[in-house]
Every structure is written in structure tokens, then in C-alpha cells.
């Protein structure tokens, strides 16, 4: 059935809750209201007591979920916008990422923090950021970002099955931007494995989240013989797929919605030169947002990567 990403995520949550009674959904407005983006719609009615409206306190949502997970539950926290995960940063960095290590593997946290992320919907301040690198840098977390409805369902179900904590970021600009065929059946897509979306021979384009669509739009406008890799998971990072491609193409750009300094785009570029410099014919170019706090929405279209910026990077990397 064709559906958009919100419906695919909703179906994943529904199937996970039907399958495992310890799975709970908790967060601000996730119950009666079904979440501000409607991802949890209907779960409150279908699973009484398991889709829980919490007090408005992000640190408490994650910290209490840590306790629930320590005592046998599988909480799926929704933080209303990724820009508000910082209120819970202490709990995420100090506890979510560390309990397995601290307890020598005795106490584990099979739980998820979901949050809509990234820009493109003319939202208010703090509603449009791309914080994936913060959470990769926490170490001890898995960090996932789907690029469309099919992946969203499979990756979310894999995250729920995963025995370790997962930060699951949902690019909200593609929540309802397009529909894809999504199987009704329960299925998972493995974490830590990138997806070679399209095969080519002259260039490797590494991307994830909503930027996959931008890359595809760029290639539709300006066809190019390129491998396109959707990372799907930022931690663990599947560099094997990236390096295999680069050994074939010799050129790479990384397209990400993050700001540039200290970004995953930078990390991937660094790892390409560390492990494949003899295969490179050109420097690796990062296409990102600018190194400023996300601007108010009147200017966001200039901040976010666009077709022109991706095109310019391709031209540059091909000019060597």
C-alpha cells in the first residue's frame, strides 16, 4: 500500500505494540492528540495505558524511560522536536549511552528516543535542527535517520528490536512530502548498514535523511553516472559500503543537512581520506548547511543545501 512516512511510522509502532506488550509510547501530546505530527495517532485508543501523555519535561521523559527500560519495559519516547532533545541531553549522554558499560553488560536499555528533526517546513526557532552528530559523539548510542516511508517502517521496527538504545531522527520535511509502497507485513531493515540506492561509476554521493530526495532531484535535473548511498544509520557507520563505492568511482561528495564544523559529513570525509586516499582522484567535498545557528524561517531556504549547491559540489569534484 502506498503511504507517506507518518503513516509508515504509525504502522511500525502499531505492529511493535501488538507484538510486544512491554512496548510503550510516551511523550508530550502523544496520547489523545496522537502526537503533534500524528505519528502516534490511534495508539492511545488501541493500546490502553500504553500511549502515555507525560508532563512537559524532556529530561524526565528520557530519564523515567531509562528507569522503565531497566525494569523490563521497552519505552519509545517522543521528543516533540529534536531541538528539545537538549533538555534531555544529560540523561542521554550520561545514562542512555552508558548503562551497559557502567554495569558491565548487566543492565541494558532497549529503548528509543524518537524526534522529528531538520528543516524545510518554515517552523519556529529550535524546530529545524540536525543534531545527529551530537548523539553519534555520545558513543554508546545507535543513531538512525530514515529517508522515506519504506525505510522508516523497517528501521523503526529494527530499532525497537535492538537491545541497545537508539536515537531515531525523523526528517519532518519528508513526513508527508511523498508516498511509497510500504508492505503491510512486519519487516525490519538492519541497523548499521547503508543502502546503495542507485548505482553509477564516476562519483559517489553519500547522504542520509531528507537529503536523499535532494540528491535524487539534483540527478534528475542533471543526470550523472553516480553511486548514491543512503547511510540510514549514522552510528554505527557503515564505511565499508562507502569505501567499496569510492574504490570504484574515485570521487565523493557528502550531502548532509547538518551545519559543517564537527559534522558527520566531516567525519565521513575524514574516514574516506584515511582509508582510501590512494583511490581518490579529487578531494571529498561536503555539502551542508552553513556554520550558523539555524536561522529564522524567512531565510531557511538559503541555509539548507539545495540543488544548486549539490550541483556546484559535483562540478567541483569532477573538475579534478
Amino acid at each position: 500500500m502506498k503511504m507517506h512516512m507518518v503513516a509508515a511510522l504509525n504502522q511500525a509502532l502499531d505492529q511493535a505494540m501488538a507484538k510486544d506488550k512491554s512496548v510503550l509510547v510516551m511523550g508530550e501530546d502523544v496520547g489523545v492528540d496522537g502526537g503533534v505530527f500524528r505519528v502516534t495517532e490511534g495508539l492511545y485508543q488501541k493500546y490502553p495505558g500504553r500511549s502515555i501523555d507525560t508532563p512537559l519535561a524532556e529530561s524526565a521523559i528520557v530519564g523515567v524511560a531509562v528507569g522503565l527500560a531497566l525494569n523490563g519495559m521497552k519505552p519509545i519516547c517522543e521528543i516533540q522536536f529534536s531541538g528539545f532533545t537538549y533538555q534531555a541531553f544529560g540523561q542521554i549522554k550520561q545514562h542512555l549511552a552508558r548503562f551497559r558499560q557502567r554495569s558491565d553488560g548487566c543492565m541494558t536499555l532497549p529503548m528509543i528516543v524518537r524526534a522529528p528533526c531538520a528543516g524545510g517546513i518554515r517552523a519556529l526557532e529550535h524546530h529545524s535542527e540536525s543534531p545527529e552528530a551530537f548523539y553519534v559523539h555520545c558513543q554508546g548510542l545507535k543513531v538512525v535517520m530514515p529517508s522515506g516511508p519504506y525505510d522508516a517502517k523497517g528501521l523503526l521496527l529494527a530499532s525497537i528490536e535492538d537491545p541497545d538504545p537508539v536515537m531515531f531522527f525523523e526528517p519532518k520535511s519528508i513526513y508527508r512530502a511523498f508516498k511509497e509502497e510500504v508492505p503491510e507485513d512486519y519487516y525490519t531493515i538492519p541497523l548499521g548498514k547503508a543502502n546503495l540506492v542507485r548505482e553509477g561509476s564516476k562519483l559517489t554521493i553519500v547522504t542520509w535523511g531528507a537529503m536523499l530526495r535532494l540528491v535524487q532531484q539534483t540527478l534528475e535535473a542533471n543526470p550523472m553516472d553516480a553511486d548514491v548511498i543512503d547511510m540510514r544509520t549514522l552510528a554505527p557507520l557503515d564505511m565499508e559500503t562507502v569505501l567499496t563505492s569510492i574504490k570504484k568511482t574515485g570521487r565523493a561528495i557528502v550531502v548532509s543537512e547538518e551545519t559543517r564544523a564537527g559534522s558527520m559529513a566531516g567525519d565521513i570525509a575524514a574516514r574516506i581520506q584515511e582509508d582510501a586516499i590512494m583511490h581518490l582522484d579529487a578531494p571529498v567535498i561536503r555539502v551542508t548547511s552553513f556554520d550558523i545557528p539555524f536561522p529564522q524561517f524567512a531565510l531557511e531556504k538559503y541555509h539548507l543545501p539545495n540543488v544548486k549547491r549539490v550541483q556546484a559540489a559535483i562540478a567541483k569534484v569532477m573538475s579534478y
Binding site: 508532563p55 524526565a60 528507569g67 525494569n71 558491565d104 548487566c106 558513543q139 535492538d162 557507520l237 557503515d238
Partner: protein, 358 residues
């Protein structure tokens, strides 16, 4: 006449003391504990006092890492932990050595833990490992107790923190959450008067910490935290309330008789006189005074307890310090359920580095 300005609610805060400083008991409040049980408590308190002194000395000798002493807080820690059952949970901070002792934690592993070896946490399923970020663990206690309630298990979580932690947002968020959902959690605030060098009065203008519970819709109680019978009785009552779905905040008035940690020098910010003012309230001595009044005390009994504790401590220290440190590759063993490719690579890097060194 319609009153448009009136008092709509008034509140009070209870204080509980059962044994006074002279060891005299208020019989009307005496908890349901036999002589043997109270002697068990005394034994644990002496063990805690002596073990604490030993660990402090071991750090000074460079044999273990930084240690946070509990001297003066034995009644607060043993009295609370003694009042719950094995299947209940504890959520301790870094200054809860006495709680671990009372919960029956392996003595050898306690030495190992304070020597920086996480392998010692094995088998301690209902007692969380030491939480360092102040107050952050209060939320975990709420979640643990909530999961028990959801499954109808009737288990409680004793969640520890100090007076300083009550300034932390996480503690207040934990209070709020527990009140809003009726969670069977017991918040144990050991009001030991000091957060490193910052005195209690700097943390809050509130006259008591117990009263903070009122704002969140549940009971707060101030207890003489150096009176182990009062601590025990208050915890028992809190457990009863918890089983009915009501959280409790216990403010246990006590005093940190030692430094913040072995890295601290409390003489920089407080006087000897400040500390000595609490000598007469000492929780261990108070119980001894009570025993004398009950006719339970003999010098032989006192000496026997001390010698039993000494044997237990020496045995644990000897065995604990003899445990070799974990192999370096252990660093990567318990980050994820399954080792990720990057960790495998980095482990190889480490092995190569270690190979070079040999």
C-alpha cells in the same frame, strides 16, 4: 458577604524522632523490630563505619581510587535500606556505601568497584550502580517503580540523593512525574548539610526540604536522620504508602562528618566546631546508648561486633585488592550487545599498540 480573599489551603510538615540524643526511646513510636533485628541494624552500622574508615585509608595509601565517605550517615543509609524487601529496588548515588552493605552487596566486589573495575557490578540486579551526575538518578527510580506498578508487582524503589541535588531540575522533574502518575517511589534525601563546600542554606530558601513534596502533591516528612529507628519507621510507612500508589519524600537530617571525597579538604570551608556540634548526635553512639538503656549492651558484645566487622572488612579488602585489573580489551566488551565493526577495528589498533609495547 462573599469572601474574595481567603486561605484556600494550609499545609504542615511532620518531624519524626524516636530515639533522642541520649538514646531514650519514645515508646509510643517504637517500630515493630525485635532485639535481634535491631542488633542486625547496629552490626551493619558498625560495619559501615569501619569499612568507610578503611576505604578512606586505602585511598590515602594509593590502593583504591577516589572515595566518597559516608561517616555520620550510617543510620540514614542502613535504616532506609533495611526497611525494604530484597525484591524492591535501590537507586544510589556515589555516597551510598552503607546502602550497598545493607542490601547484601558482595563485600569483595564493593572494594573492586571503588578500585575502578566495573566487572564488580555483576549480580546486583536490584541495586543500580553508583550514579555520579547529581540528582539525575532520581528519574530512574521513578521509571523503575512505575514499571513495577504497570505490571502490578507492588515493588518500590528507594531513590537516594542529597540536599544539593534538590536544586537540580531532574530531581524536581522526578517529584513532579511521581506525583502526577502516583508512582511507588520513595525519595530519600540525606540532608547532610553540605554539597562539597556549599552549605544547605545556599541551596534553597525553603525552611525544610520535605515541604517541596507538598507542591508536587504527595507527602514529605522530615526525620532525624541520625536516629535509625525513626529512619526505619518513616521508610516503612513510606513503603506502605507506595504500595497504595503514593510517593513520599523523606528528608533525613544528618551530617557529613568527613570530607566530600578523598580529594576534598573540608577544613577549608567549615570549622572543627561545626563538625563537633554533631558528635553528640552520632548515629552509632546513639544506638549504643539505647542498647545500654534496654539492658542489651555488654562490653563483650560491643567488642565482638567490632571484631566480626574487622574480620569481614579485612577479608574483603585482601580479596578485593588481589583482583587484577580487567584486560584492556574489556573496554570494548560492553558498549553494545554485539561489538560494532568500528570497535573491532579500534580493538585491533589497541592490541597492536600493546604488542609494540611488549
Amino acid at each position: 458577604m462573599v469572601l474574595i480573599r481567603k486561605v484556600i489551603k494550609t499545609f504542615g510538615v511532620e518531624y519524626l524522632q524516636i530515639l533522642d540524643e541520649e538514646g531514650t526511646i519514645d515508646e509510643s513510636l517504637r517500630p515493630d523490630l525485635t532485639e535481634d533485628r535491631i542488633k542486625e541494624i547496629y552490626h551493619l552500622m558498625v560495619l559501615a563505619r569501619m569499612f568507610d574508615e578503611k576505604l578512606f585509608k586505602l585511598q590515602r595509601m594509593g590502593k583504591i581510587g577516589t572515595y566518597a565517605p559516608i561517616k555520620g550517615q550510617e543510620a540514614a543509609q542502613i535504616g532506609t535500606a533495611f526497611a525494604i524487601s530484597k525484591d524492591d529496588w535501590t537507586v544510589p548515588t556515589f555516597r551510598e556505601f552503607g546502602v550497598y552493605l545493607a542490601r547484601g552487596a558482595d563485600r569483595v566486589k564493593l572494594v573492586q568497584v571503588w578500585n575502578g573495575d566495573t566487572r564488580a557490578f555483576h549480580g546486583d540486579a536490584k541495586n543500580l550502580p553508583v550514579a555520579i551526575p547529581v540528582g539525575s538518578q532520581a528519574l530512574h527510580g521513578v521509571g523503575i517503580a512505575w514499571a513495577s506498578k504497570m505490571r502490578g508487582e507492588n515493588k518500590v524503589a528507594l531513590t537516594y540523593f542529597g540536599d544539593g541535588a534538590t536544586s537540580e531540575g531532574d530531581v524536581l522533574e522526578a517529584f513532579n512525574f511521581a506525583g502526577a502518575f502516583g508512582i511507588p517511589v520513595i525519595f530519600v534525601c540525606q540532608d547532610n548539610q553540605w554539597a562539597i563546600s556549599t552549605p544547605r542554606k545556599v541551596q534553597t530558601a525553603a525552611e525544610t526540604i520535605a515541604q517541596k513534596a507538598i507542591a508536587f502533591g504527595f507527602k514529605g516528612l522530615q526525620v532525624d536522620g541520625n536516629d535509625v529507628l525513626a529512619v526505619y519507621a518513616a521508610t516503612k510507612e513510606a513503603v506502605e504508602r507506595a504500595r497504595k500508589g503514593e510517593p513520599t519524600l523523606l528528608e533525613l537530617l544528618t551530617y557529613r562528618m568527613s570530607d566530600h571525597t578523598t580529594s576534598d579538604d573540608a577544613s577549608k570551608y567549615r570549622t572543627e566546631a561545626d563538625v563537633h556540634a554533631w558528635d553528640s548526635k552520632d548515629p552509632v553512639l546513639r544506638l549504643e546508648k539505647f542498647f545500654r538503656k534496654q539492658g542489651w549492651w555488654t562490653d563483650d558484645y560491643g567488642a565482638w561486633v567490632r571484631s566480626e566487622c574487622e574480620k569481614e572488612i579485612n577479608d574483603a579488602v585482601e580479596k578485593g585488592l588481589a583482583i587484577p585489573p580487567p584486560p584492556p580489551e574489556d573496554m570494548f566488551s560492553h558498549i553494545f550487545a554485539e561489538m560494532i565493526p568500528d570497535h573491532k577495528r579500534q580493538l585491533e589498533e589497541l592490541k597492536a599498540e600493546l604488542g609494540d609495547a611488549q
